[in-house]
């Protein structure tokens, strides 16, 4: 088992290095001289040279990369080009909002997707199944920013129940925080709910025809117990995998959701950073998002190997 974890870690390392190279090269690929955006157009050549030296831009690219990695590992993501704030501080402020949004979206999607998926599988080809499956497809094809706009029009403009945007940290005022997060959560959770519904239906259908379910039924077990204990437990493995694999899409979708509802999270940090040409901020946010996804995938693989020992051999 330890050997398996070690080998998976070793596989992850080159990927992480390539990812960091890609993120680093963003600044190299940028057209124009970065000193122009930092000093403005009227700086003298000497001032530019001084800044270039201070930033290490006069060194060969591989040296710049190694220096950058050294800094990032120690938590120094550079400073925002916009207001000079350390990117690490910005990240620390923004991680909680995205985390809260993602967790709430996953909970909502599971609470909707799993029961509906079970109902669809149990009533295969009935009107309920068709309705649930169609609902799932609608949810998956829904452009998230359009859904967000419809929610705002309905809840904020028409009913005047919820403010169209805003954010309060959860630990400051949990109730207000949850209230403000209702619409972002629905927006982000809908696509995931559709995916979970579909996966639940598929894997429940697979499990329901398995021998051990028939045995459980033959033993005279109540249908409820057969479904919830024997079938669902085994059907859950692929469902959990799908949720894990969708974390990337979820965090990508968070960029849109956070922008529409003005939630100060990592996704909004990427989008704002692009508009302000604040590349240290963009790099920091993207690096954190991608590292998080890689670590999560590693954890899923390890959990998998732990559940099913055959994988690790």
């Amino acid at each position: 088992m330890i050997r398996y974890i070690f080998s998976r870690l070793m596989q992850m390392l080159p990927v992480l290095v390539l990812v960091s190279m890609a993120v680093f090269s963003m600044t190299l690929l940028l057209p124009g001289d970065p000193t122009f955006s930092m000093l403005g157009e009227h700086a003298t050549a000497a001032e530019r040279a001084a800044l270039r030296e201070r930033l290490g831009l006069d060194m060969p690219v591989p040296v710049q990369y190694v220096r950058w990695v050294q800094h990032v590992i120690t938590g120094d993501f550079g400073r925002s080009l916009r207001n000079g704030e350390p990117v690490l501080n910005m990240l620390a402020q923004r991680v909680p909002a995205t985390t809260q949004l993602a967790i709430q979206a996953i909970i909502l999607a599971t609470l909707i997707g799993v029961p509906l998926g079970i109902i669809a599988a149990l009533n295969r080809n009935s009107i309920r199944d068709v309705a649930a499956t169609a609902g799932g497809m609608f949810a998956m094809a829904m452009p998230s920013f359009w859904l967000a706009m419809l929610l705002i029009m309905f809840f904020s403009i028409f009913l005047r129940w919820l403010p169209p945007s805003g954010y309060v940290p959860f630990f400051k005022d949990p109730i207000e925080s949850l209230r403000l997060m209702i619409m972002p959560t629905i927006t982000l959770g809908t696509i995931l709910a559709g995916l979970i519904l579909r996966q639940t239906r598929t894997s429940m259908l697979g499990v329901l025809s398995a021998d051990y379910v028939r045995t459980a039924r033959a033993k005279g077990m109540s249908e409820r117990r057969v479904i919830l204990v024997h079938a669902l437990r085994n059907a859950l493995i692929p469902i959990v995998t799908v949720v894990g694999l969708q974390m990337g899409a979820l965090l990508g979708g968070a960029a849109i959701t956070e922008s529409v509802f003005a939630v100060p999270g990592l996704g909004q940090m990427v989008v704002d950073g692009i508009f302000n040409r604040d590349f240290p901020a963009v790099q920091g946010a993207i690096l954190v998002i991608v590292t998080f996804i890689l670590v999560l995938n590693l954890l899923i693989d390890i959990i998998y190997a732990w559940i099913d020992r055959r994988v690790s051999r």
Binding site: V15, A22, M137, M140, W146, M149, G248, V290
Partner: protein, 304 residues
């Protein structure tokens, strides 16, 4: 993805296990596939939607009632009426005409970027699967690294570097789609590479290129089509998302995403946000339906 992989696994099963010679996974018989696609209720719905969109895009100049970029300052933010069926926007432009012309942008982005991604991804996947060894390892690590980025975040990063425009959006979407396709193709190449029909082709002196193009490609094409129609929907939504954020198509191009973002400034003019979004949703749904129908149609072929 998991479902796609399952189909891939099913397809590679030799279809007649009694014969000693492994037969190639036969290429889809397109007439049968089309027939079961037309019998598939959702697939047919999707095909109808896509056909309507295609016609709208081609005949946009004739069916659109107004010029999509001409402002009429006497008709600003007009609600839907007999004159402007879907209302007008903040510059007095007819929403219906802009949605009609928007189909061109939508199709251009989704079809071209997915098509280019298929060519690129297939070449990469075939090289990787056929070459094996360190070439394969190197390519696959790069693919892994690209897949580690959430699609939209990678696209945002690329557009950030290239600058906002419709062309750059298409480039970004193409790049985002290449890794998945190359994985799909590589898996298929690996599974047929040592089969007898490939060996036989090599034995009679077929070159690598010939083997890849005329022996391996036909067995991948079904899976790729399914993936393509599903990712066309993804590409369309990605383009509108970028345009919505202001990083994609630039005004006055009638992109649905851009139309929606201007709707954000005029909440009371609900027609500005509802109709372009509905068009987007419908077309994305259409692509998804076709993808689903195709998958079932190709699966049915195996069961038959």
């Amino acid at each position: 993805m998991t479902e796609l992989n399952q189909t891939a696994a099913v397809q590679t099963e030799p279809e007649n296990s009694e014969t000693l010679i492994q037969t190639p996974p036969s290429p889809p018989e397109w007439r049968l596939v089309l027939r079961s696609l037309l019998r598939h209720r959702l697939g047919l719905t999707g095909l109808i939607i896509c056909t309507i969109v295609l016609f709208t895009a081609v005949f946009a100049p004739w069916i659109s009632p107004y010029n999509p970029v001409a402002s009429d300052y006497d008709a600003i933010l007009m609600p839907p009426s007999a004159e402007h069926l879907l209302g007008t926007d903040d510059l007095g432009r007819d929403i219906l005409s802009r949605i009609i012309w928007g189909t061109q942008v939508a199709l251009q982005v989704s079809l071209i970027s997915v098509a280019v991604a298929i060519v690129g991804g297939s070449v990469v996947g075939m090289i990787s699967g056929y070459a094996g060894g360190w070439v394969d390892d190197a390519i696959m690590r790069v693919v892994d690294a690209m897949i580690a980025f959430p699609g939209l975040i990678l696209a945002l990063g690329i557009v950030a570097v290239l600058g906002p425009s419709l062309t750059n959006t298409m480039i970004a979407i193409t790049i985002v789609n290449i890794p998945n396709i190359s994985r799909l193709v590589r898996a298929q190449v690996l599974s047929v590479r040592h089969m007898d029909f490939v060996m036989a082709a090599r034995g009679v002196g077929a070159g690598r290129l010939r083997i890849m193009v005329s022996h391996i490609w036909p067995s991948v094409v079904g899976n790729i089509l399914v993936y393509a129609s599903l990712s066309a929907a993804g590409a369309l939504i990605a383009e509108s998302s970028l345009s919505f954020l202001g990083l994609g198509a630039q005004p006055p191009t009638p992109s649905w995403g851009w139309m929606l973002s201007s709707g954000m400034q005029y909440w009371n003019a609900w027609w500005m946000s509802v109709f372009p979004g509905a068009a987007l949703f419908l077309v994305a749904l259409g692509f998804n339906f076709v993808g689903d129908g195709l998958r079932d149609a190709l699966d049915a072929r195996i069961v038959d």
